[in-house]
């Protein structure tokens, strides 16, 4: 049997990043993810890497931009208000086609909000929170095991498409302790970074990393090229998990910690004889639209209940996927409050009674 170890979420994410080949971390302290920069400051130099505590989140993401532009696996982490500051850099990373990983351990907002867990940054993560027309693959772990497994994938996806990847974890994932197994996750085979500005070192041409395309036509062509990458990400990277949807009358849709709450509610309701299933998006972008639409068309499916730690942001994507075929209900807590199993059960039962 593989060895199980108890880890704290933020530290596990940091360790997983080092194991995934991350060789530099730039960050600024913010609760509830301080254990990530703390762990990195301790462990990254031992792994031959670089840790710098930046003067701001803005500087941190631009240090990531520099390291990524020179061909190094780079990451930063923060929590909601800090991620807002990083949006400038994320937009530039996309524009300059640079791979990097950004971890957001979400807390309550808007503004300073609270330091308790939240999923209030769903829109920001999935719509591209910075300027311009762009997308970032957004991975949402629901367990610490999944969080550590996804870190390797996050770096590989970033390198595959030369595009930043966001790991969107709620504060509970960052703060709780849970057993994990360190598994050898084979990395993808990736193209060499021939574009990196790392000094010519004998190369006959200069590499110039930029997001500037000053002419309207060249900027449009650049955007179309980026769009082809987004299409490839949508085709290849969409992930979700389904539980007991085969005969479900009601399908719960939830990501991150609320998906675990929803799963317990589902199992309790199953014991009471209700046919409930769960669909848990693992990638929030690309969103499993096609699968949800397919489920909505099945005769046994009568309704959906979307559960989030916000006031209904993924709800938009669920509605777009269901496309009016079935009613979509919502239950959410926000500002740092976490939905209780009994609350989700109650909300589900109400919908189930309506559709009988």
């Amino acid at each position: 049997m593989q060895k199980r170890e108890i880890w704290k979420g933020s530290e596990a994410i940091a360790e997983a990043a080092i194991r995934a080949g991350c060789r530099c971390f730039f960050g600024y302290p913010i609760t509830p993810q301080n254990e990530i920069p703390e762990y990195m400051s301790r462990m990254l130099p031992q792994a031959g890497g670089v840790f710098v505590q930046a003067e701001s989140e803005l500087a941190a993401i631009n240090m990531v931009y520099g390291a990524a532009a020179s061909g190094v696996r780079a990451m930063t982490s923060s929590s909601s208000p800090g991620i807002s500051l990083k949006q400038e850099g994320i937009s530039y990373l996309v524009g300059a086609q640079l791979p990097a990983v950004i971890v957001n351990v979400m807390r309550g907002g808007p503004g300073l909000g609270s330091i308790q867990p939240s999923q209030g940054d769903y829109y920001q993560a999935t719509r591209g929170g910075g300027n311009g027309d762009y997308r970032t693959v957004t991975l949402a772990p629901a367990t610490l095991q999944e969080a550590v497994d996804l870190m390797q994938d996050a770096f590989d996806i970033a390198d595959t498409y030369r595009n930043p990847v966001m790991v969107l974890a709620d504060g509970l994932i960052g703060q709780m302790m849970e057993p994990i197994v360190w598994q050898d996750r084979p990395g993808r085979s990736l193209p060499p970074k021939t574009w990196a500005a790392e000094g010519r070192r004998g190369r006959t041409h200069n590499n110039f990393v930029t997001s500037l395309y000053i002419g309207a036509e060249e900027c449009e062509e650049h955007n179309l090229e980026l769009n082809r990458k987004y299409a490839a990400m949508e085709a290849n990277e969409c992930r979700w998990e389904e539980l007991m949807t085969e005969d479900a009358q009601l399908i719960l849709v939830a990501f991150g910690t609320p998906a675990r709450v929803a799963e317990t509610a589902m199992r309790n309701l199953r014991q009471e004889g209700w046919n409930v299933g769960l669909l848990r998006p693992i990638t929030l972008w690309p969103f499993p639209t096609a699968r949800i639409r397919e489920l909505a068309g099945k005769s046994h499916v009568k309704a959906f209940l979307d559960v989030e730690m916000n006031l209904g942001q993924m709800l938009d994507d669920v509605n777009l996927a269901v496309n009016g075929q079935r009613p979509v209900h919502f239950y959410g807590r926000c500002g740092g409050a976490v939905p209780h199993v009994s609350e989700v059960e109650q909300a589900a039962q109400k919908v189930l009674e309506e559709v009988q």
């Binding site: 060789r23 530099c24 730039f26 670089v50 710098v52 930046a54 003067e55 701001s56 803005l58 500087a59 941190a60 631009n62 240090m63 990531v64 931009y65 520099g66 390291a67 990524a68 532009a69 020179s70 190094v72 780079a74 400038e88 850099g89 530039y92 300059a96 500005a197 790392e198 000094g199 010519r200 070192r201 004998g202 190369r203 200069n206 590499n207 110039f208 990393v209 930029t210 997001s211 500037l212």
Partner: protein
Amino acid sequence: MTVIYQKTKGLQDTPLHYCPGCGHGIVHKLIGEVLEELGLLDTTVGICPVGCAVFAGSYFSCDCIEAAHGRAPAVATGVKRTHPDQCVFTYQGDGDLASIGTAEIVHAAMRGEKITTIFINNAIYGMTGGQMAPTTLVGQRATTAPLGRDPAQAGWPIRMAEMLSTLEGLVYAERVCVVDIPRLNKAKKAIKRAFELQMAGKGFTFVEVLSPCPTNWGMEPLEANQWLMEHMAAYYPLGVVKDTGGVTG
């Protein structure tokens, strides 16, 4: 036939887009010459700004990265920390360095990042069309200070070389200008020393270049040079502000 002068290998053949009488092209040339003379063109990464020099990456003949407005020192930090063997410089104007990027330049100097910053101070926003810069002189007109900079409303111009020189991490700061050949040679010497100190691993190095902007000052090029010496150099004294770098090489 003896070659007595040729264009530096430190610049590409791309025609410069700068206005007549602008200082940017001269400083580009000096940087290119210094990098070539020090044999650094194959081991340099230049970080380009937002502003008039936004196309600098198409002019310097070395690897370059275009940064967001003001963030060049943070980008340079990311490059230098992961590639300590490379020569890394930022090229920034006064809006970029002394306004939107103030935090980034102060903290790069504070950390003693082993990079070189070439700061082009022309006391005006060039690219956006002549708005007030943090370095605009008191009384100097700008499109956002139509009656001239009024300290009661806009404060006093900032002396970046002096301010940064209070930081231990900065080992070398000199203010130069490029209005005539002797001063141009002096500027080149300063740029060379800054790069030499960087490559010797001494710390953060900074060269502030007072640079004419005839277009946005509304002057003929020669008049602009004269105005620079009379007014700018009076407020921003030329010369070494700090040098704790010692001997290199």
